[in-house]
């Protein structure tokens, strides 16, 4: 009997709720968006798109190895700007490369839940990024996923392939302009990090108060490969749920996840899930959450299946208001002897002592709180080029982060 097709599998999951997160009624969103025209030059992008992209760290300047901009359902601007990197939209890539079928829906199951199934049943839109064998660049590929129409269900399916020995940095900004009252973004991403390849993937979200967001990410890392995955969300969102899963499949593979959340409202359920399946693999997951309102569930799960695997989880939360909730759920699952797995989790308030210390230097209570909150969110991110590190720092530092 032939295996069911992607479409058939997706169909069976049409009503399948996600394991985590608030359930979203897909029917309440529109799945069709008016198409946008192709934009050849980055400088010709509409001003509001450029502005929104800049706001989430996507500056399409000379220091860019590739660019991808998607407005609603249309990939409007796709560029490869460094010989070692190829950027295409996925529909084009699927036509160009037959081998892509070996990657398409291999890390995220099309019937995983109704959100994924919805993407699987839609025409492909999203980026295909390939770092060619042995090619390295510190200039990042920059992508912007722009949800510009109210009530739209934006579906994206991305593929990243870092071929053997390559180095690739990707920064993705996902955003809605202020005039979009309501929307849904579902982003499926499948990352293949081959032998000895190094990838950093940084995602910055800036959504609206009535936007539901459901990223679905699967990652596989082969022997000696590494991933530094960074996620930043400092602006309000209605609901956000994601639990990216990375499998360390080859000897010595390394994954590190950094998550920075500042919550003012809504329901955010985020975390990372790492399977350590090969010897000498290691994984680290660090999340810093500040809530002045809204519910944040910070998950982390590490499963060690072979001797010698090392994993560390850190979920630290600052809860600054009675209106907020931080629920930290670190999970360690050891399935072999000789593992080294640990976690630390803490939820608390700003220390009086630190506050007084800064106030003794002349800072007001508000200034001192802001300095402490920014410092708390300033996670030391490893494996990123200096410029990108600085860019991320600028984003976490510029926000007007207050106590309650």
């Amino acid at each position: 009997m032939p295996l069911p097709s992607i479409e058939e599998r997706a169909k069976t999951a049409k009503e399948k709720k996600a394991l985590y997160g608030v359930d979203v009624d897909l029917e309440s969103y529109e799945s069709e968006a008016s198409p946008h025209g192709t934009i050849e030059r980055a400088e010709d992008l509409p001003e509001e798109v450029k502005k929104a992209a800049l706001d989430v760290g996507v500056k399409l300047d000379k220091e860019t190895s590739g660019a991808y901009v998607q407005m609603d359902q249309t990939p409007v601007h796709t560029r490869s700007l460094f010989e070692g990197v190829e950027v295409l939209d996925t529909a084009t890539a699927l036509k160009k490369y037959d081998y892509l079928q070996d990657y398409w829906w291999k890390l995220v199951a099309p019937d995983a839940d109704k959100y994924v199934a919805d993407v699987a049943r839609s025409p492909p839109a999203g980026y295909f990024i390939r770092a060619k064998k042995g090619m390295k660049t510190v200039f990042p590929v920059k992508s912007c996923l722009y949800l510009g129409s109210t009530n739209l269900n934006q579906r994206v399916h991305n593929i990243i392939i870092a071929e053997e020995g390559s180095e690739l940095h990707v920064i993705t900004g996902c955003t809605t302009p202020a005039h979009v009252q309501r929307g849904l973004h579902i982003g499926v991403s499948e990352f293949f990090i081959k032998k000895g390849a190094h990838v950093s993937f940084t995602m910055i979200h800036s959504w609206g108060k009535e936007v539901d967001v459901r990223p679905r990410t699967g990652i596989v890392i082969e022997e000696g490969g590494s991933l530094s995955n960074n996620y930043i969300c400092l602006r309000p969102v209605k609901t956000l749920q994601m639990f990216p899963t990375a499998t360390l499949a080859g000897r010595g593979a390394v994954a590190s996840f950094n998550t920075v959340i500042y919550s003012t409202m809504g329901n955010i359920d985020v975390g990372s899930n790492v399977n350590l399946n090969a010897p000498e693999t290691s994984a680290e997951s660090i999340s810093r959450v500040v809530s002045v309102g809204g519910e944040v569930i910070a998950r982390g799960r590490m499963t060690g299946r072979v001797p010698g695997a090392r994993a560390h989880l850190e979920c630290v939360g600052l809860l600054l208001s009675d209106k907020g909730r931080i629920y930290s759920i670190p999970e360690l699952d050891g399935q072999s002897k000789d593992l080294d797995m640990s976690h630390e989790a803490a939820v608390g308030r700003i220390s009086e002592e630190e506050l007084e210390y800064l106030m003794a230097r002349g800072l007001t209570s508000e200034q001192a709180t802001s300095v402490i909150v920014r410092g708390f969110l300033d996670v030391e991110i490893k494996g990123l080029p200096e410029d990108l590190k600085q860019e991320i720092k600028n984003i976490t530092q510029r926000e007007d982060l207050k106590g309650s």
Partner: protein
């Protein structure tokens, strides 16, 4: 500069200071001695205005103003600075950034260099610092703040001899000991147990605190000598008999 009148302070309902009287004139630097747990730190913290330190009675007058009820950041802006005995570490805040926050006009590089602390500008404030490094971090911050009244809570504890000299020099600078006494306007008060630091800085007067009150005042070297010879009680009995 500073006048403390019949000050009584409690923490969590427990009285620590009882009827303390102290006067520090402009340009004067005073030393405060006393056994552990006698209320020296409490006095400095109460002057700084840390909210946990409740003033039950008495007054704190600074530059002619009653600051007894003033919030601590306003006291700092008015010119009160403090080197904490055990300051906290601040995650994610770099020392050079804190210098700029304290005083945007400050020359951070010069201040760090002065305290032989260049390498620490990029470090998070007090994080992973040794005991001696913490004390230099405190001095760096005070040099940026340039307070009119500098309060030093054991700036020499845990510090090696070479750095004690460096810290003493910074205190002399903060309290204008490099200019003639009649021109000095900045004042200081220092808590120390060992007195080593007093070899490297100038003090004008010393006080002994016992049981939450100042029981003896006088010449710093005389008092220190008596304490070394006969302990705090002996010193008080000898120099300031009831």
């Amino acid at each position: 500069m500073l006048e403390i009148e019949d000050l009584s302070v409690s923490i969590g309902g427990k009285q620590i200071l009882k009827d303390v009287n102290l006067r520090i004139g402009p340009g004067e630097t005073h030393a405060l001695f006393g056994p552990n747990g006698t209320g020296k730190t409490t006095l400095l913290n109460a002057i700084a205005g840390i909210p946990r330190y409740a003033v039950d009675s008495g007054k704190i007058i600074f530059k002619g103003m009653d600051i007894t009820q003033m919030p601590m950041d306003e006291r700092a802006k008015l010119g009160i600075g403090m080197a904490f005995q055990r300051p906290p570490a601040i995650r994610g805040l770099r020392l050079k950034d804190l210098i700029k926050i304290i005083n945007p006009q400050a020359d951070a590089a010069a201040i760090l260099k002065k305290m032989d602390f260049d390498a620490f500008g990029e470090r998070e404030v007090n994080r992973g610092f040794s005991g001696g490094e913490v004390k230099r971090s405190e001095m760096v911050q005070l040099l940026a703040q340039q307070p009119d009244l500098v309060m030093l809570d054991e700036p020499d504890s845990g510090v090696d001899l070479e750095n004690i000299k460096l810290i003493g020099g910074a205190i002399n600078q903060l309290t204008q000991k490099d200019i003639r006494p009649s021109s000095r306007t900045k004042s200081g008060i220092i808590i120390t147990h060992f007195g080593h630091i007093l070899e490297y800085m100038k003090t004008d007067r010393a006080h002994v605190m016992v049981g939450g009150s100042i029981v003896c005042s006088g010449n710093p070297s005389e008092i220190l000598e008596q304490i070394k010879k006969s302990g705090y009680e002996g010193c008080v009995a000898c120099l300031c008999p009831a």
